[in-house]
């Protein structure tokens, strides 16, 4: 009995001592979303995050203190807006980025220009490229970032919190009455998402049925006619409601639409569900509440 308590304690003590005497020995390797192996001799201490989503994920992984460069629109968490910006995710100012001497760059597979990412690799910087496409990808990305930054404690706990939150919602809405949904990403041109998109996955999670879920493109451009033809029970738009009120008022011109008839026209703050980050949990809860509201009006 005494042994079983003492042994782990002794072990962790000796590990702690080792950790103090040889802090450099921890070489870590992870695989990024392009399949490339990214290895660091020591935990990343100067991180450059080349997309607003990457910035949030690094913070979620507990490595926010080590971020030295972000790109424009990196507005969450609040501390991120005080970090030096190195341009936009579509065009990075390589000069300014090199000046900050990052030891890890977090790239965005489909967002950053491939030439620039290649140039950074040629300059000898380790680049970890991400492209989260599912809830599990969000957790897994946070864990890998935590491993690279040596912040496993915070990162793995956060990843687990997100995983558990999503799992709880899956259980809760598994048998919910289906609601047909149209999600409006943009107004002009009218754009929506298919089932492969993370927002499409939020719709499914909440027991919604995306009327355009089967379309082939991730973010299809569609006509108003197609929306009226599909006659969704609820219409949700990614907006704050003040500056883009007309996004939803346009549907009030069609009283034959079920969503209009029942007044199931809702706004969802886009930053909560349009970035693949832990904030999706909050966004998904809001989304599900709207669908619950639509169910209550039956």
């Amino acid at each position: 009995m005494l042994n079983s308590l003492l042994l782990p304690a002794l072990l962790s003590l000796s590990l702690l001592a080792m950790g103090q005497s040889m802090p450099v020995a921890a070489k870590v390797c992870v695989t990024d979303d392009t399949g490339a192996n990214v290895c660091l001799e020591q935990p990343a201490r100067r991180i450059a995050a080349l997309s607003p989503g990457a910035t949030e994920l690094v913070w979620a992984a507990g490595a926010g203190d080590h971020v030295v460069a972000v790109v424009s629109f990196s507005d969450y968490p609040e501390e991120a807006s005080s970090v030096v910006s190195v341009g936009s995710h579509t065009r990075v100012d390589l000069e300014r980025l090199m000046q900050l001497q990052p030891d890890l760059v977090i790239g965005w597979v489909t967002g950053n220009p491939p030439e620039q990412i290649e140039a950074l690799k040629d300059l000898g910087l380790p680049v970890f490229s991400i492209e989260p496409r599912s809830f599990e990808d969000v957790s897994h990305t946070i864990e890998r970032l935590a491993t690279l930054a040596g912040t496993d404690d915070v990162g793995f706990a956060e990843a687990q919190r997100f995983r558990a939150g999503i799992a709880a919602m899956e259980r809760r809405y598994r048998d919910a009455e289906p609601v047909s949904v149209f999600y409006q990403v943009w107004d002009k041109p009218l754009m929506t998402v298919n089932d492969e998109h993370l927002i499409g996955k939020v719709i499914t999670l909440c027991g919604g049925v995306n009327v355009f879920g089967a379309l082939e493109r991730l973010v299809p451009r569609i006509s108003s006619e197609a929306v009226i033809g599909a006659n969704p029970e609820a219409i949700l738009a990614g907006g704050m409601g003040q500056e883009n009120r007309h996004w939803l008022t346009r549907w009030e011109a069609f009283p034959s639409l079920d969503a209009t008839k029942k007044n199931n026209l809702y706004f969802i703050p886009p930053s909560l569900i349009q970035r693949p980050t832990p904030r999706m949990l909050e966004g998904s809860r809001l989304f599900c509440e709207k669908l619950d509201d639509a169910r209550a009006k039956r």
Binding site: D93, E95, I117, E118, L123
Partner: protein, 323 residues
């Protein structure tokens, strides 16, 4: 070469060197002039070496090569088609290159493959116009021009179609490519070598080009074999444009206006104008790219915006002054 030819070229060469010095010395990160010299002499911190030697210098040389190639190609096209509105892209070459590049981007490929398919598209466009303009009847510059312009409209439609159906997240990259951007350029040496070779090649051709610019009948009467000369110009101009577009996307304006600007100042002697275009076009694009890098740093502007903003008033001034 007479002195009247050498002096302007010497001045332009000095201007080009000055532009390159400014370009290598400025950026969004400030490196003091003394340190830039130290870096070039092989000293300086490793960060400064990266900034100057690996980021700025290749980009400056690429901008110079691209600008020079486009201006020479534009001057050649204007002689060939005897049309002041001709530019390197008028025969649809940039359209072909753009379709090639956008196809590669649509497939999610990057870097060398995008450049490679742009070059392939440019060559395809050249061959198409070459073949179609020949047709069954006689061949004339106006026929070449019409064929080229119609083919170019076709490419334009294909580009619009591709932009309309491509995924939203790929759009910014595609649009920046279409606007032209020197930051895509990789190794500048092949383009610089080509520019230098072509300058050596066209100077002996200059006399014949001067005659051709007055019209094919006069040229033939004066003993110039017009048809082979015209095809040589076409192939040369296409090769230059294809190389430039492959390096930096379709940068507008330089190829159209630099030859005109230099003609307004230096007169219309092709022996002088063609090498002058290589230097002047290069210097303009180097300056424009420097501004594009620093005006709203860390955000970067497409270089085509700056070339036009710098070039339009200069050109209008020269035109106004010349009456």
């Amino acid at each position: 070469m007479s002195r009247s030819l050498v002096t302007p070229l010497f001045v332009l060469a000095l201007a080009s060197i000055a532009a390159m010095v400014v370009s290598v010395g400025t950026g969004s990160v400030s490196v003091p002039p003394g340190d830039v010299i130290a870096v070039i002499l092989g000293e300086g911190s490793s960060l400064q070496q990266t900034l100057v030697l690996e980021l700025r210098l290749p980009r400056t040389l690429s901008a110079f090569a691209t600008g020079g190639l486009l201006a020479v190609a534009g001057a050649l096209m204007q002689v060939l088609l005897r049309n002041p509105l001709a530019d390197p892209y008028i025969l649809g070459l940039s359209g072909g290159a753009a379709v090639g590049a956008l196809l590669a981007m649509l497939a999610g490929l990057g870097g060398l493959i995008v450049s490679g398919s742009a070059f392939a598209g440019a060559l395809l466009a050249t061959l198409m116009v070459f073949g179609l303009a020949h047709g069954t009847g006689s061949w004339t510059p106006s026929r070449l021009l019409l064929t080229g312009v119609v083919v170019a409209s076709g490419w334009g439609a294909v580009i619009t179609l591709m932009l309309a159906i491509s995924p939203a997240q790929r759009l910014p990259g595609m649009l920046y490519w279409l606007m032209g951007d020197v930051s895509y350029a990789r190794s500048p040496s092949p383009a610089l070598a080509l520019l230098f070779l072509v300058c050596l090649l066209v100077v002996p051709l200059g006399r014949s080009l001067n005659v051709l610019a007055r019209g094919p009948m006069q040229a033939a009467a004066l003993g110039v074999s017009v048809r082979p000369l015209e095809w040589t110009i076409y192939v040369l101009a296409s090769l230059l444009t294809a190389t430039a577009v492959t390096m930096a996307g379709s940068i507008g304006f330089v190829g159209l206006v630099v030859p005109h600007m230099l003609r307004l100042v230096l007169g219309n002697d092709q022996r002088l104008i063609l090498p002058a275009c290589a230097l002047g076009g290069g210097a303009l694009l180097v300056l424009a790219d420097t501004l594009a890098r620093i005006v709203i740093a860390p955000e970067q502007l497409p270089v085509g915006v700056i070339t036009a903003l710098l070039g339009v008033p200069t050109f209008l001034y020269l035109l106004y002054r010349s009456r």
